[in-house]
């Protein structure tokens, strides 16, 4: 990956809505070249999506529950972690799925409207997968920081208006 591509990635990771003109001035790369680079990175699936970080806890009608579930798996002949993972991540409730080192194998992040909904997913869908031997479910109580963004940010600009 080139220096230019890296720089563009770092900027849009912070602000995906930045316009080409501003981005061009910031990086000293022409707008045309920026568009070409972005298209290429999208095609390579280096850039997968341009999404917003939303604090849903501030939206009354969109209450939801997030749980992290530790899953232990016995890989069977011909069925490795990747196959088990695929069976899990295809469920639309699954927000994220990671293969982990340590005490368990897969970490599932799941979002639902209620605890019951998540409980049902774990007992009916997750535990019933052949290779899954155990699950431990942790419910998130509060989000302090997500994707590098502090949710209750209190550090405003405290500088005085004119200084030498």
């Amino acid at each position: 990956m080139t220096e230019k591509e890296l720089e563009i990635l770092r900027i849009i990771e912070e602000d995906a809505r930045i316009d080409y003109n501003t981005l061009a001035k910031m990086t000293n790369i022409s707008e045309e070249e920026i568009q070409t680079i972005l298209k290429k990175l999208e095609k390579m699936k280096v850039i997968l999506n341009y999404s917003a970080v939303v604090d849903w806890s501030k939206v009354p009608q969109a209450e939801q529950v997030t749980a992290m579930i530790d899953v232990k798996v016995t890989p069977k002949r011909g069925v490795g972690f990747d196959e088990v993972a695929e069976r899990i991540y295809r469920f639309s409730e699954v927000q994220a799925l990671y293969l982990m080192s340590g005490a368990y194998d897969l970490q599932v992040v799941i979002e639902g409207k209620t605890m019951q909904e998540i409980a049902r997913f774990v007992s009916e869908k997750l535990s019933s997968i052949d290779s899954v031997i155990s699950t431990t479910t942790h419910f998130q109580l509060k989000k302090y920081k997500h994707d590098g963004i502090i949710f209750e940010e209190g550090e405003e600009d405290r500088r005085i208006v004119v200084t030498p």
Binding site: E7, R10, I11, D15, I18, T22, K25, M26, T27, N28, E155, D157, R159, I160, V161, V162, T163, P164
Partner: protein
């Protein structure tokens, strides 16, 4: 005017009465009286001090490091400073005899002047420059002599310009690159001719390198790293700009042992030592703060790119500042003076910039705009400035 003014006047030393109050102060009062302004007038980073540095300082207090430190500063910090300066800028100093931790770089300038100046000694100051240089020279009994740099020269100073104002009384030269307010940098070959001249005329050189880390296109060259210059250089730097630690008031000065011992004498009688908890924060900054410095520098560089280009779109000439976080465009095309421009812009568009004349010779006809503010602010500010400038072009 009150009746007691004559009496009050007599209470003050003539030296202090001769010193004008800072022009920054007047503009600050003006800007503070207004709401909803976007300020490009701030001479400090918009980042808060990185958390690991704050945490280290808090922890030092929790562990009870609340007493005086050695006059010259915590030895471990001086050792880290010398290591850091050697790695970054190839200057070699002894932490025991050639480094002093000061209360901001400003103190370093002050005690440096007081350590070397006798009444009437002249100090050549390259301007536009930091507002404190000339007053600090005067307060130390010296005579400031200014040399103005120009936009045509990218605000660099030449040996020729300095030679033109040399007299028998010239004792020292004061330079600062990357420069506040112009953002100018001097490359090695630019500095070399100044070094030759300093050698020829046996000058002491104050090199204020507080913005050294914020050099965007070339690696910063320290004046003290040039051949033979360490012996005659008072090298000043600090933590404020690179590590976003302005309110900590922590700087340092590096100089040959005889000069440093004299400065230490002044420092120990007037300040005893720099605040201990701030020194422990600085220690953490040097040990593991370089990633943050790089992240912040990269961000300034991007904002510089955006900001400087927008002056061209407004129709104002602006050189590409190689360092610091200031743009210093010429506003001569508008027909307004620096003061008029800044005042009108503040009243009409609620954008605060600093009139260039405040920074001394060569500053009139320019404004200092700091781009150490959010991209959102920069975008809005340039929109407003564009609207303002178009009324005059």
């Amino acid at each position: 005017m009150s009746q007691v003014s004559v009496k009050t006047k007599n209470r003050l030393s003539s030296r202090i009465q001769d010193i004008k109050p800072s022009g920054i102060r007047r503009f600050f009062d003006l800007a503070s009286s207004m709401d909803n302004i976007i300020s490009l007038g701030v001479g400090e980073p918009d980042f808060t001090t990185p958390w690991n540095i704050r945490e280290a300082s808090i922890s030092s207090m929790e562990r009870g490091f609340t007493a005086y430190s050695a006059n010259a500063g915590v030895l471990e910090l001086r050792q880290e400073i010398t290591k850091y300066m050697d790695q970054r800028f190839e200057v070699d100093y002894n932490p025991e005899t050639e480094v002093l931790v000061t209360v901001g770089a400003s103190e370093a300038i002050d005690i440096g002047c007081r350590a070397i100046l006798d009444p009437g000694d002249e100090v050549i100051i390259v301007e536009p420059g930091f507002v404190s240089y000339a007053p600090l020279v005067s307060m130390a009994g010296g005579v400031p002599v200014s040399v103005g740099t120009k936009i045509e020269d990218d605000f660099k100073v030449s040996a020729e310009q300095i030679r033109a104002v040399l007299t028998e009384k010239t004792k020292a030269l004061m330079i600062s690159f990357p420069n506040n307010p112009t953002g100018a940098v001097m490359l090695k070959e630019d500095l070399q001719e100044i070094a030759t001249l300093a050698e020829e005329h046996d000058l002491i050189v104050f090199s204020d390198e507080i913005y050294a880390e914020l050099s965007y296109d070339h690696k910063h060259v320290s004046f003290a790293a040039l051949d033979g210059m360490k012996e005659r250089t008072i090298l000043i730097s600090g933590f404020s700009k690179a590590f976003a630690m302005t309110g900590w008031r922590l700087g340092f000065v590096m100089a040959p042992p005889d000069l440093l011992a004299a400065m230490l004498k002044l420092h120990q009688y007037s300040l005893m030592c720099a605040p201990t908890m701030a020194q422990y924060g600085a220690l953490e900054a040097l040990k593991s703060g370089m990633d943050d410095v790089e992240r912040m520098t990269q961000s300034y560089k991007q904002r510089r790119g955006f900001f400087v280009e927008s002056f061209a779109e407004m129709g104002l000439a602006c050189h590409m500042p190689g360092g610091a976080f200031y743009a210093f465009p010429s506003i001569k095309a508008t027909g307004l003076s620096s003061e008029e421009f800044a005042e009108k812009l503040l009243y009409e568009e609620h954008v605060a910039v600093v009139p260039g004349d405040i920074f001394g010779a060569g500053g009139e006809g320019h404004i200092r705009c700091s781009y150490a503010t959010s991209m959102e602010n920069l975008q809005e500010a340039t929109k407003r400035m564009n609207r303002f400038v178009s009324k005059y072009l």
